[in-house]
Symmetry: C2
Subunit: 427 residues, 2 copies
């Protein structure tokens, strides 16, 4: 069954710049503060912000079963709880409303004035209240690279890696939307050649190029979600920068995993792009050898061809692209991750977020972290002003972009951009 | 400055059985559903449930600055956000209201009828909405025991352990109150002598004897909480059973820590006992060698003398006590844990929960898990019906109790009790 909102021939009466991430075929969901200081759920077409709360109040969603204030909320959690059928009805309706041939809103100046404004006039917020945040580790190239550097080059991939979509719990309270700056963390590290730790600013701040998916209510406690149904419970995806302090991580991570090296900040892009919008970009994922256990086996295409790019922008200097990767390189799919996560009955709720793990591709220019790109600082990267980076410097901005593109359509995520500030309270 | 509610000489006009965990000196906070199906915040004196929402509506908290519906809520988060000064004012006022010499409520039959009922008539809920849940690993004996069994007996304690209160993130969505049964999880395990995993029910379900503390809003992102102020941001404590599947854990935990081995269920006792109530039971914690880094150094008594006891109750059989431990054995204190957790600027909010880690004492009968008590199944424990336990069997109930006691007062937590059921959907 085709999804009407994906019709590549549809044009909008709202202007959409060429190569925009947000044509009328995208219709992502987010939360923003309007110029009148009202928090609302919205979508984006071109560089226009669309206030879905206002659209609902003006009855444009009549006929779709929604609570009265569904879009007049400060998170998408309730809407996401309504399930895939409702998401699709709403997205299709929005496509209709903004279709170039539909005069209903286009020709109603008063309505247009309260529904549509420029993206410059709104302030994007976190799109969901994230109850629990899990981060996976599903790029074989990344796991191999890190294993070579942190552990044993001969046995880089640990024995469980090819059987389990390895993951761990992260910290929800430190997840911030694009644009919020992040402070360099303090922490315990062991100086080279020493055996005891010192406390001070981390000297090895890194990004991790990731995507994340947001779920609806998946199960009750005890129940599992079969892998072949799991995708229906994924609302959509965002870009994610899993900020990491490598020197803190190296010292603290045994035996219970990364903790303070990660939980000082995680940045995400503010628009959730639905799996429906990504549908035309399905592709095959890498062959899995050995064959996973039955509860993880799936047929068909469950990867998505999403181009990814990371830039570093030193203060006052043009950004330098440091990595060009693709989400399709991931060894484990999102549906396998979700099936594994619930295989023990772990409850997953609406608004929960699951990170992909660093997305490293097969070539050195597609690695998803400075740790890998510079091989732990051995091969620094040159910026446009001639300065070099082993890791991220104070006042550098890290920008991750992501987009899908075929002959007909481009569906993008926009970006997650965040500046690294000096430690809190220091200049 | 003495805390009036702690006066050991105070008696209540409500009957309190001898050796009750809940004399008028306790005044814990919790959330329950009344027999009229109303959710309210409450406290407990003896075997009486006290409806704080009703007390507030009847103006018994006049003079204390509280929002109108502070206690007519389904979580304590907002009350905890109000901070220590308010917690103390409210607890002191409750002590006054129920003082044997105060006739205000005692002699008002109509008021009493809506405020007080039997504990049998209410259903306890989770006391807080837990935004983020962290579990520490702060018992030296436990870390040593596990290190000997899972890793290297010669180097059981990892090099970071004496420098860092090691911790990791857990799953909030799987935290349930006492009384909610838990299903044996399915998962990947590697049979003895094999190298590849199979999927099936875990065969090594364990409890972990823990306590946990609940915080108020501690900091903004980037900011740290100094160790000497940290205790003021701890609202109170509960008992916790950190259910663990040892066979799943052993296979999955490298390199990112325990995940599905833990996140199927975590059970807590429903009453939060305030740090104020525990004040008379402060004691010294074990000497720390080497001296921790300055941000973790503290003077004075920051441990608490809390007796702990774990029993296993097979179906239809009297419970057998399998462990007798004490919270005072913990190497790292709660204030050190909170100072460490925020040392990198990680944000901690009202209602966040931090587990102690398994509380194992110095002697084998004080170990806090079956893994240690039976030394990974080598020394089974006999139940009262003659059956043996290496780990927890289906339909066993695990009961953790905790209490403080001196010559004058007993302050207890009640219990966290939960039954292990067969895997979901099986009998």
């Amino acid at each position: 069954m085709p999804i009407p909102a994906n019709d590549p021939n549809r044009k909008s009466w709202l202007e959409v710049p060429q190569d925009s991430d947000f044509p009328i075929q995208n219709i992502p969901f987010g939360v923003f503060i309007t110029k009148d200081d009202v928090v609302t759920i919205g979508t984006r077409i071109g560089n226009h912000a669309v206030d879905l709360g206002a659209l609902q109040q003006l009855n444009y969603f009549e006929g779709i079963e929604l609570t009265d204030d569904m879009f007049m909320q400060d998170t998408l959690n309730d809407f996401i709880s309504d399930g895939k059928k409702t998401w699709r009805l709403v997205r299709n309706r929005i496509a209709e409303i903004f279709d170039a041939d539909n005069g209903e809103l286009r020709d109603n100046k008063d309505h247009r004035a309260v529904v549509v404004c420029s993206m410059d006039e709104v302030e994007m917020q976190l799109p969901v209240q994230i109850g629990d945040y899990t981060d996976f580790y599903s790029s074989k190239e990344h796991a191999t690279n890190v294993g070579m550097m942190f552990r044993d080059p001969e046995n880089a991939l640990l024995p469980n890696w090819l059987h389990i979509p390895v993951g761990y719990h992260g910290r929800s309270s430190s997840i911030v939307p694009s644009g919020i700056p992040v402070h360099r963390p303090m922490g315990q590290t062991v100086p080279a050649g020493e055996r005891t730790p010192v406390f001070g600013p981390s000297r090895m701040i890194d990004f991790e190029l990731e995507t994340a998916f947001i779920t609806t209510d998946v199960n009750i406690m005890g129940e599992n979600m079969p892998v072949h149904e799991a995708e229906d419970y994924i609302f959509g995806m965002v870009l994610m920068n899993d900020w990491s302090a490598r020197d803190i991580q190296k010292w603290e991570y045994v035996p219970l995993g990364p903790f303070l090296a990660k939980n000082f900040a995680t940045s995400i892009s503010p628009w959730i792009v639905t799996l429906d919008a990504l549908e035309p970009f399905r592709t095959k994922s890498p062959k899995q050898t050995p064959t996973p256990l039955p509860y993880l086996q799936q047929k068909g295409k469950h990867a998505f061809d999403i181009n990814l790019e990371v830039s570093i922008e030193p203060e006052g200097v043009e950004p330098t692209v440091v990595s060009t990767s693709n989400f399709k390189y991931m060894y484990w799919t999102m549906s396998q991750q979700l099936a594994h996560h619930t295989s023990n009955g772990c409850r997953v709720n609406s608004g929960d977020m699951m990170g992909s793990g660093t997305i490293s591709g097969p070539t050195p220019d597609s690695f998803g972290s400075m740790l890998e790109l510079t091989w732990s600082g051995k091969n620094p990267i040159k910026m446009k002003d001639g300065s070099e980076r082993k890791f991220i410097n104070d006042n550098d901005t890290v920008i991750i972009k992501g987009w899908c593109k075929n002959a007909e359509t481009r569906i993008g995520f926009g970006e997650v951009s965040s500046k690294l500030l000096p430690p809190f309270g220091r200049k």
